[in-house]
Symmetry: C2
Subunit: 132 residues, 2 copies
DNA sequence: TATCCCGGTATCGTTGAGGTAACCAGTATC
DNA sequence: GATACTGGTTACCTCAACGATACCGGGATA
């Protein structure tokens, strides 16, 4: 199996929301990373994905299952146990996620700096505007 | 400068909308590709980006300018002329776009096939549901 | 009997990206 | 005077994603 997930592996205040790359829907890339080391249970995923509501996690996993990115295995035990696991297709997204993270490491600071610098100037007057 | 843009370089009916990777907003990656070979004018961009409205193109370019991905140069001629050009930062997105396109070439058919196959089965009954 | 656990549903509301349509200023040309 | 061209702007609307909150069924446990 795999070690327990770090409940702080995703920082909700991290600037990744400013990152100009998105894999799937809002949570898809994070789910892929959570499943990188093996199958995980529903409630196990809710830890690192801090703030995700069960409804949205269900939606995300259903969409990923539909697209062949994860498999869902329900064991007829009780309390119920359901495990999600990456398929080869889902695992193939890891190289993209790594590329996105490499870009962020190398270039996101420049983007954020450009954005910060842009906020300073009020409005550069795009074309000559005459207001009587 | 650069050769005229191919007005059919983006297929509006192409399955890229199903692609689980997005660079920036909806049109950002396409704008980057349009500017790959040199500066372009506003109306020049409207050709390949078929269906984009001037408002949305303005929004897209303003956001890219704010993030330091493009520069905007207005020449005081007339009729007015405005040129947009990639910065080094904007150009750095090309490797990400290439990675996304490589993933699509290699894996998107499998995703679409999984999606198609999933539509066939009505509902696999997630957990036992009892409705009286 | 009561409560907890797990893996969800059901219902409602908010938000923002994106689209539609119309309009504009200044110059040049017919 | 009318029209066209460029590079936009403005007001309005739609729709899907996302979130908040509450609830559920069935068995195990206290």
């Amino acid at each position: 199996m795999a070690e327990p997930l770090d409940p702080e592996m995703f920082d909700p205040v991290c600037p990744s929301s400013a990152m100009p790359i998105q894999i799937g829907d809002k949570w898809t890339a994070m789910v892929v990373l959570c499943l990188e080391d093996g199958a995980r249970r529903f409630t196990e995923l809710r830890g690192p994905l801090r703030g995700i509501t069960p409804k949205v996690l269900t939606q995300t996993l259903r969409a990923m299952e539909r697209d062949g990115l994860v498999t869902r295995t329900a064991y007829d035990e009780n309390p119920p146990r359901v495990e999600y696991e990456l398929t080869d297709l889902g695992r193939s997204l890891l190289i993209l996620i790594d590329a996105a993270r490499a870009w962020s490491r190398d270039h996101l600071p420049a983007l954020l700096e450009a954005r910060r610098a842009h906020e300073s100037i009020p409005r550069p007057a795009l074309l000559k505007r005459s207001r009587p």
